[in-house]
């Protein structure tokens, strides 16, 4: 029998502490953006004009018909994953006679959050030949919620023993892009735009695993528990430029360029512990074994160069078709530099306390994604939309090093279906997105050889999208109509409306004639002999 020495496993497990994932983006397009854009597979570079545009192609902001406020939300997202051979990726040693008795595996996750919020305002008159637009938006292009809870127990029939293993992983990572946009339309054919995003990425993860083996009817035991937690935050500045050009009456082309973001700063903090009971390899004497580590490091993260090119046939009264090709350049996407302090304790050993520099770099690869979408207008009020897209993994393939433990790498492909409704003053989109991911996940073969082994995994995500947009004018009208009392016309924020009517102060009443003074009657003469 060969139950590996757990200290090597400990070292690997703590390797996870300092380098695994680096809170690194696995995919760039995890969340559908906008309303119409989301339900058309994300294809909007050429002619889109919803809340996805400040991120995708700021020139599209100039195609927005009026001052608008728009919000798009992934109202509900459900993800189910499957993993093969989670605890024994290389199988078990046949000499153990391992027989699985019980296995429980849960890896679903649910979330809901707004994916884009935008307010856009015209600066020019409606008939001006050159129109200027400004606005502010919040876009969340990437969200990862990963939750895995697993356990297994079995008998070691040839060793008269038992094995119990548990594992839990939680990852919560979100990328927030927020900032101002400016766009200009030059006539009816050409639009330009720019967005300056502050990109704030926050990633929180925790990991716990335990392996316990009881051998020879309990006369010997080996066990180990690993747990750690990590919080990473980073800020970067990401300028995005874009252009849209009308090639023919209903044919548009567009290009959006997000230059490599300027990494401003960030911190990554981790702490973890490995505790176990092992046998001394020389004497066979059981030894308690523990290691605690903390890491406080500078953490820089930045998105790569992104170029998206699109072509669209745009006839909103009948049929619209759009297609995008999106290129993400390779980049050193994350960088970590700090000192990991560790304390190792083992019975029979001098306690070790030391600090080690940790300098790591995460490199993402160049990828090309696509988006295709179509819209059929059934009536002026109703449109049906559909689309497809890819979201390939930007991270390198898993190589089986310690850094790959708990790393998920998926190539994702999705389809979208949606309904566009114009209800009163609101332009509403209801949509659904189905995404299928296929790839690898790195698990530690803690028992057999201590190596990290990529195992095959799949992921299926269903998302419900709800998006609404309204012009500021319509919003004001609706508010006025809804209020239970009458209000004067509200002023426009851009000052282009008529001057608001000042409240009329009632004029003072004209002076009235004083009431006639009643004439005093003469008093009758006193009666003779009466007293005054």
């Amino acid at each position: 029998m060969r139950l590996r020495s757990f200290i090597a496993c400990s070292a690997l497990a703590l390797g996870y502490l300092c380098v695994s994932n680096l809170a690194q983006a696995q995919n760039y397009r995890e969340l559908p953006l906008g309303g119409r854009t989301a339900t058309m597979g994300g294809a909007a570079t050429a002619a889109g004009n919803d809340s996805a545009m400040p991120y995708l192609n700021p020139a599209g902001v100039a195609g927005i018909p009026g001052d608008i406020f728009a919000i798009s939300a992934t109202a509900y997202s459900y993800t189910r994953r499957s993993f093969k051979n989670y605890f024994y990726p290389n199988g078990t040693d046949p000499t153990w006679g391992y027989k699985l008795e019980h296995e429980n595996f849960s890896t679903t996750s649910i979330f809901e959050l707004p994916s884009s919020v935008m307010y856009m305002n015209h600066l020019s008159g409606k008939d001006a030949p050159i129109k200027h637009f400004v606005g502010f938006s919040l876009v969340i292009p990437s969200v990862r919620r990963l939750s895995i809870v697993a356990s297994a127990s079995g008998r070691l029939e040839n060793l008269s023993g038992e094995a119990v293993q548990t594992s839990a992983l939680t990852v919560d990572s979100t990328s927030y892009n927020f900032g101002p946009s400016y766009a200009v339309s030059l006539g009816e054919r050409l639009r330009f735009g720019a967005t300056l995003y502050a990109v704030y990425v926050r990633s929180v993860s925790s990991f716990a695993r335990s392996d316990a083996f009881s051998l020879v009817s309990g006369s010997s035991s080996i066990n180990q528990t690993v747990q750690n937690a990590q919080v990473a935050e980073a800020l970067a500045l990401a300028p995005t430029l874009g252009a849209q050009l009308r090639l023919a009456s209903k044919v548009w082309a567009g290009v959006g360029v997000a230059v490599p973001s300027l990494r401003v700063g960030g911190r990554l903090r981790q702490s973890g512990e490995v505790v176990g009971l092992r046998e001394d390899s020389t004497t066979g004497v059981p030894q308690s074994d523990a290691q605690t580590s903390t890491l406080d490091a500078d953490y820089l993260r930045g998105d790569p160069l992104r170029i998206n090119v699109g072509l669209a046939y745009e006839d909103r009264k009948r049929v619209s078709i759009a297609g995008d090709v999106i290129y993400f350049a390779p980049r050193e996407i994350a960088e970590l530099s700090g000192v990991q302090r560790s304390e190792q304790r083992r019975s029979g050993e001098v306690t070790r306390r030391f600090g080690r520099r940790v300098d790591r770099v995460a490199q993402n690869e160049g990828i090309v994604d696509f988006s295709l979408g179509a819209e059929v207008a059934m009536s002026p009020l109703v449109a049906i939309r559909a689309g497809a897209f890819s979201d390939l993994a930007a991270t390198p393939k898993l190589s089986g090093t310690g850094d790959d433990e708990t790393r998920l790498r998926l190539d994702r492909y999705g389809g979208t279906l949606g309904l566009g409704l114009t209800l009163g003053s609101f332009d509403t989109t209801l949509g659904a997105v189905l995404v299928r991911g296929d790839g690898d996940y790195g698990v530690l073969d803690a028992v057999v050889d201590g190596a990290v082994v990529p195992i095959h995994t799949t992921e299926t995500t269903g998302m419900l999208i709800l998006s609404g947009a309204t012009t500021v004018e319509d919003a004001k009208r609706t508010i006025r109509a809804t209020l239970p009392f009458k209000t004067p016309e509200l002023p426009d924020l851009d000052g282009t409306s008529k001057a608001p009517t000042m409240p009329r102060i009632p004029a003072p009443l004209p002076p009235e004639d004083p009431p006639p003074v009643p004439a005093l009657k003469r008093a009758p003469p006193p009666e003779p002999g009466s007293q005054p």
Binding site: S281, V339, F354, R357
Partner: protein, 277 residues
């Protein structure tokens, strides 16, 4: 926006970073190195625990047998690892002329014993040489007095002390010694081997200690050192299938062809077999 402005923005966002922990550059003691590494003090370098070598610092009060004091000596012999976290120091000999360091494991009875003449420590450094026998000095042995097995014996090394040893004096020291393993020297675990040359010293003479019938030394009775132990009868040499010739266990022979060169077959005393010497 200037880079300094951006940094200020970042600082405002993330708050002032706490003071960074310091990395451990090199090592002063074993605690600066991770488990499975040792501190090579002269070079201040953490190195992977080496094969067939013991090294580490220790601290002890000479001849204070009441307390075990700290040791950071760790080593390997063949595939076995020995962590020896406690130490005892003493002066031995009729005139306290031999300094002895005993470094212990917490369990299993493994003891690293280093013996050097006090006179060699006049400048604080003494050489450790080939371990020839239990009575020899300037040698080191790793033996287990629970199982009476010797795992390894010194090849060469050094012992450094902070002060000339004297009874009651607290000294710190550092030992670095390479070892010859006794196990599996010839592919088999030999309990005791008598009457063969021992160029690697006592390590060539089998693993059992002299207390239970094993060889006690690599002894140069004539010209060539050979493995042997004192004996009165052949029964004293039975562990190694040896014979007692002229008071020492050796290999029985009828001619020099039965001996490992350069040993030759000599005639035993009356009543004794012939033996290799």
């Amino acid at each position: 926006m200037s880079k300094s402005a951006l940094l200020l923005f970042a600082l405002a966002l993330f708050g002032c970073a706490p003071e960074q922990p310091q990395a451990t550059d090199g090592c002063e003691t074993l605690t600066d190195c991770q488990i499975n590494q040792v501190c090579e003090v002269p070079t201040h370098t953490c190195i992977d625990e080496p094969e067939n070598r013991f090294l580490g610092s220790f601290s002890c009060t000479i001849d204070d047998k009441e307390k075990l004091e700290p040791s950071q000596v760790i080593g390997h012999v063949e595939n076995d690892r020995f962590s020896l976290p406690t130490a005892l120091c003493s002066l031995q000999g009729e005139e306290d002329e031999i300094f002895t360091l005993l470094a212990f494991g917490y369990s299993a009875g493994d003891i690293l014993q280093v013996r050097v003449p006090v006179k060699d420590l006049s400048d604080g450094n003494a050489s450790i040489g080939l371990f020839l026998g239990t009575e020899g000095v300037s040698g080191a042995s790793l033996e287990n007095f629970d199982t009476y097995v010797g795992s390894g014996y010194s090849h060469e090394g050094t012992l450094t002390l902070s002060a000339r040893p004297a009874t009651g004096r607290l000294v710190t020291g550092y030992v670095d010694v390479t070892m010859y393993p006794t196990m599996n020297v010839r592919g088999v675990d030999d309990d005791a081997i008598f009457g063969i040359p021992c160029p690697r010293g006592r390590a060539d003479c089998g693993e059992k200690l002299a207390d239970v019938g094993g060889a006690d030394s690599c002894f140069a009775a004539l010209d060539t050192p050979m493995c042997s132990r004192p004996c009165d009868t052949d029964g004293d040499c039975s562990l190694g299938s040896g014979t007692c010739v002229q008071g020492r266990c050796t290999r029985p022979c009828t001619s020099s062809r039965d001996c490992v060169a350069p040993l030759t077959c000599i005639k035993g005393d009356p009543g004794e077999s012939n033996g290799c010497y």
